[in-house]
Symmetry: C2
Subunit: 401 residues, 2 copies
């Protein structure tokens, strides 16, 4: 194989392909087009008019539908707007500006706030920290979740450690699932900070790609069991279930945390868009409706994950490693000199998330992680993009000897 | 007239009426029921897929539609979620946590932040300040807006004064409209704080009730003209145009402020619900479509305002004063011992916004302002409620001599 000649051919072809963001494809969005004609009725189950103001916590019927899927009792679930990211961001803002249950003061009055960031992780979590002046400490991820020895040591030693970001199921970007033991240790561990919180971004709770769905231990229940009832902030959304820009987001936690959250959001809004909540209830109906809908997504997505795996195995066997997730939206490719590979790909018209984006401050010390988002392109484009990416990996390997 | 006997009769009737919040009536919401079947197309005017992520600033066609109505160039308008209150709250949060253009530091680092609050005013503005630890200083309102002599003196003397809340058209709750001279003086005045901002909540921009719509001077243009381009934050929403819980909100300002706002919200969200934006564009079409729609609202609301005026005149001539707004959602009733009147009304099953709510910290020093929200009840209920309220006013006047 001559990587230089292959790369010259690749550039010659003038591709324009995008593997950057975890966006659903148009065919996935088509699965929810019936929602554009809903809701059939603007009445909530309790008879209230879904068109008017009010209902800060969100409709009971929607909370009941998603409660088991997100492992949060319906009474402790809050429905927000179209972005769980906004609920995460706003939770941190609330904690900065209003004392969270168990805290001695508002976080903005602390000399320093630190969050643990399992890496590789989700760049938008890190952006929230960076924007809000929160120091980030990376923690290595393994096949079962973050290295819990490291986590336990850090939270016990340093009272400035107030939070940890987790994508526990089909993690972004590695696709791994936290083991029961990891979840248990997160719930049980002793922390120096009395107001330590786990930001549990269960973004891919129902996003299975195979017939053997991953099971996740119940963090909220485990926290309560270990005497840390207020430790977990749980998030979820339907952005990758129904319509990416027009989904509904969820926040779930202990009763005290939910009261605190609602007291704060009650000063921000008179209530969420309940017609969109009704649209979701009418369209998804129940847990089986969600599961059936997610199987239709999987039929469209799984061939793309298989394709990436196949092309990488064919082109890069021995030169790189990558994950083979059974759910979620991402594949994590580990190669030497990731930054150079991404730059070469960009020059050949293949856009990838910047190398380092999976790490705090955009810096991957090993310069090795590339996040692949295979859902948006069609199969033909995806094959071209991954084959092209493989050429770039081979070229950099050759140039670097 | 025997007020005690009338009050005993009133209590006897066991009413349950609510004049607390400015909510549209079901018949007003019916005017927008066609939206429940929209959008007909999920494509934005630029061809992008409105179902997917993205477009932080909002659809150009919706910004162009509302730009003239809110007196903000479309390029400087941002479309948010369903609540302009959230955009106001979040702007203050952004200013607390990220340095606003022209500021020397983040507001959270200032020893004290003060906002001027024209009174009577909107309780939810005051709640935002109270929640975020911002000191409030009341400023008396006149028929043309806040007393500008007081405003000019306070902003010139005290660098901690960083903001003023304004509902400039059909003000909440008095219904007055800021005169051109008031707007000009707000734009022109010298402020001790380099980062002083006018929070211009133009909630009732198109909410005319008569054939002679109020005209408001263009604050944004006047600020730029007087060398204070970054002074105005403008807000609006369709909550009382289309569907109260499912409208779209707007933020408008100078190019520098908009860039600052988007840089902050870009860390909070991947983008707004664009299908709801398309719904609005398809349903309202253009400025004339908005005007025609608002005339249909006025046909339902104006008889209620007339009724309140008529009943108050008949029952309370000489005992009280009240406003007769030509737009908006509220009537302001001025009576002695407002707190007692509200308590008597409550005991008779007529719920009113707590006396004092129109003032910072819930305290009306003169104990005189009662906010009447006449839109939600039907005419018969409204007549009962206002007649009952009048009985309470007479009773308190008699008891207090």
């Amino acid at each position: 194989m001559n990587a230089q000649r292959d790369y010259a051919d690749l550039v010659q072809r003038g591709l324009s392909l995008d593997l950057t963001r975890g966006k659903p494809s148009p065919r996935q969005l088509d699965l929810s087009n019936d929602m554009l004609r809903l809701p059939a009725s603007y009445r909530a189950a309790d008879g209230t008019d879904g068109r008017n103001y009010g209902n800060l916590q969100g409709l009971a019927e929607l909370r009941e539908l998603f409660a088991p899927l997100l492992q949060v009792p319906a009474a402790q679930l809050v429905v927000g707007g179209n972005a769980s990211l906004a609920m995460m961001h706003d939770t941190v803002v609330h904690a900065l500006l209003s004392t969270v249950p168990g805290a001695v003061r508002r976080w903005v009055e602390e000399p320093e706030i630190t969050f643990l960031c399992p890496v590789p992780g989700y760049d938008r979590h890190f952006t929230i920290c960076e924007r809000l002046g929160i120091r980030m400490v990376p923690v290595p991820m393994g096949a079962d979740g973050p290295d819990m020895d490291v986590v336990e040591r850090l939270v016990a030693a340093d009272a400035s450690v107030k939070g940890i970001w987790c994508v526990p199921k089909y993690s972004n970007p590695s696709g791994i699932v936290y083991s029961d033991e990891t979840v248990r240790r997160l719930a049980a561990m002793e922390t120096a900070a009395p107001d330590f919180r786990i930001f549990w971004d269960n973004a891919y709770a129902v996003h299975h790609l195979t017939d053997t769905p991953a099971e996740l231990a119940d963090l909220l229940a485990l926290c309560a069991e270990h005497g840390h009832a207020d430790r977990a902030f749980v998030y979820g959304s339907t952005s990758k279930v129904t319509l990416a820009g027009s989904g509904v987001a969820f926040f779930g936690s202990s009763p005290d945390n939910v009261a605190w959250f609602l007291a704060n959001t009650g000063k921000q809004s008179i209530g969420p868009d309940k017609l969109n909540q009704l649209r979701h209830v009418e369209f998804l109906r129940d847990a089986e409706g969600v599961a059936a809908h997610m199987r239709r997504h999987a039929e469209l997505i799984w061939p793309k994950f298989e394709l990436v795996d196949r092309v990488l195995a064919k082109e890069l066997g021995g030169l790189a490693t990558w994950t083979s997730p059974r759910g979620g939206y991402f594949i994590s490719l580990e190669v030497p000199h990731a930054g150079e590979v991404v730059a070469k790909a960009k020059a050949a018209g293949i856009a990838l998330t910047p190398a380092g984006a999976t790490h705090p401050y955009g810096t991957d010390p090993a310069d090795s992680t590339i996040r692949i988002a295979p859902t948006y392109p069609d199969l033909e484009e995806l094959e071209q993009a991954i084959a092209g990416l493989a050429v770039c990996v081979r070229l950099v390997a050759e140039e670097r000897g």
